[in-house]
């Protein structure tokens, strides 16, 4: 099951303080919150509105406009297959196919055990090592189908330890 987050309000507050309640930093504040929970829990939105002095509609429009922000809970590991041109011509789609099959989900979904969310990411600038995937902040390059599957398995093992 995908867990919704138990929000640490002190930390959220500290993040907003870091940006000195600057409303122009709304996106970065949400990115930092997202780094903690892998998504932006909608419960924080009223707090953002109050502290930054912005309307709820703006928070939602920013959250839905930018791809790095999700308002839905995501898995513990976010597996992003780079879909940049260089990776595309080197067969990124085959990695996506293989991972979809292995995790039994489609791109954009989270696996039933809540461990993995599979996403496509536009070019991460690792083009020479393509095809590339990232798992959270780690980059893995020079992949083929079986290497990609092994990497995902290694994270599964890491989680069960």
């Amino acid at each position: 099951m995908i867990q919704t987050a138990n929000i640490d309000w002190n930390k959220v507050s500290a993040i907003i303080d870091d940006y000195r309640e600057n409303h122009e930093a709304l996106l970065m504040i949400m990115q930092d919150i997202s780094d903690m929970y892998n998504y932006v829990p909608p419960e924080v939105i009223p707090v953002l509105c109050e502290r930054l002095g912005v309307k709820e509609s703006l928070v939602y429009s920013v959250a839905t406009f930018y791809k790095t922000i999700s308002l839905e809970p995501r898995g513990k590991f976010i597996v992003s297959v780079c879909t940049g041109t260089a990776c595309h011509v080197r067969g990124a789609e085959k990695l996506t196919d293989a991972l979809e099959q292995q995790l039994d989900i489609e791109q954009g979904q989270t696996s039933a055990d809540g461990l993995f969310t599979l996403e496509g990411v536009r070019c991460i600038g690792c083009c020479a090592s393509g095809p590339v995937i990232t798992v959270n902040k780690d980059t893995h390059g020079g992949l083929d189908r079986s290497k990609a599957l092994n990497i995902v398995e290694s994270y599964r093992q890491q989680a069960s330890r």
Partner: protein, 617 residues
Amino acid sequence: MAKFMDRETLDRFRKRLKEETAPGKKRVVSLCSGTGCGAYGTSEVYNALSAELQQQGLADDVEIRLTGCHGFCEKGPIMVIHPEGVFYPQVKADTVPEIVGQTLKNNEVAEKLLYKDPSTKKRIIFEHDIPFYKRQKRLIFGNNGLIDPANIDHYIAVGGYQALEKALFEMKPGEIIDEVKTSGLRGRGGGGFPTGIKWATCAKHHGDRYIICNADEGDPGAYMDRSLLEGNPHCVVEGMIIAAVAIGSSEGYVYVRHEYPLAVSNLEIALEKAREYGLLGQNILGTDFDFDIHISRGGGAFVCGESTALMASLEGRPGRPRAKYVHTVEKGFRESPTNLNNVETYANVPLIIANGADWYSSIGTQYSKGTKIFSLVGKVVNTGLVEVPMGATLREIVFDIGGGIPKNKKFKAVQTGGPSGGCIPEQFMDLAVDFDELSKVGSIMGSGGMIVMDQDTCMVDVARYFVDFLKDESCGQCNPCREGLKQMLNILTRICNGEGREGDIELLEELGVMIQKFSLCGLGTSAPNPVLTTILYFRNEYEEHIREKKCGAGVCKPLFHYEIDQEQCNGCHVCFRKCPQDAVSGEKKEPHAIDQDKCIKCGICYEGCKFNAVVIR
């Protein structure tokens, strides 16, 4: 470290650093820790190297320098031993002891670990002798391999911040702008607008002027800005400060992608150090000039590379472009005059100021001056970042530097300019690459992505890929872009699925011209380029898809299948073992066959066959 309050102290400090780091003083092992090499395992190599140096008693004599990207990413992790310049590619933790023992201890080379030139099969010892590097002119990118981006002293030791001194103490703001104008520098982000003219226009308008650096590198297949920010952030910072002096600004921003965490953290360190040294902040180098730079992280929206969208995003709003009746140099960020340049453009500025406009304009072609960094990727032997003078031909870049196409496959096209660019076929390989020549053949320079495509690349699929990308990235404000791209994608998807109809090509052309003419911003007006150029140069592939329902490159799954050529197959059994679906049958040393019902067209047998027995039909 105390702030430098005048020019002389900084000069003296630089001189001391130069003496300390003069060749011969200390061995330096530079180890690439850019994102590319990192993905191949630099950190394990680093750990093995420090342990081995300890063990062999060399820890005090050898400095390990974790540098930014060296450019030859294909061969990562890369290690170069200075001052000699001995080059070791694809270093692994278990080959480290040999390198330390042979090269660092005994001053010999570890022959077997050296780079092997794939065409001559000869081993090459020195970095500068390797064909990939030899034919480049690395004015901007060269320092990446020498400096630790987290150490400002390394940048100062190679002459860093000297140009800023000249701009602050020897030149008037107008003179700086004139110098940039005369140099002929044009914007490296894609548009190719003359930088000096932009600066001059911005300086003319009154208000709190802003200096912004566009590091929202969004073109899929281009990563030179990431590598510059990761590997040599100070050259960009210095360029921005000089722009601020010239234009008269006290506040700057770098808008950088959130997906580039290493670039963000190296830039943060660089800004912190520059403040500590008195190169940013109040009273820079003891003058009355104040300027500081902040970082803003973008959120993964391609359209934010467009100037007005970027500024909307900086203001904390969704990044939607506006019509440019009033240009951003007059009213941009916070409704104030704003100068926006790309990362690489700013990186050129210190060179121009330090060496003069005449020197700079002697490099390149008549209307495109200086060098350009290209990211040479896709189906090419030497993938990586390549810096060449403007005017180098496509053939020199792809074949001489890039080493041609791997696995003896046939070259088909090179795609330049990202999703706004075009695909250039073989007949234009001798084209001298600069802003104007590329647009003559229907493509653009863009930010410098160069994606090589071979016989296994389907041009209809490439067009579909780009339109799919752009449809997702369209901000949705204007009809032609939002609806037009969706319709184009529908048609292209139909063609790729084998449901193409007569008249589809003409319809795509008509839609393309409409979107080009009536879209609001640069994303829309350039979006049809990949479709229109592939139709122009590869119309036969479209016709093959539509009329014969065939994809000769073997990409569009419904339009081909794999077969085993009974004449060529010697029954080596490789495909039999590798097939994930157990679709291959056959005894060893007998020709094999593929069960089409089981085959998922994953291509593993095709890639794995050494005898070209698996064929696309």
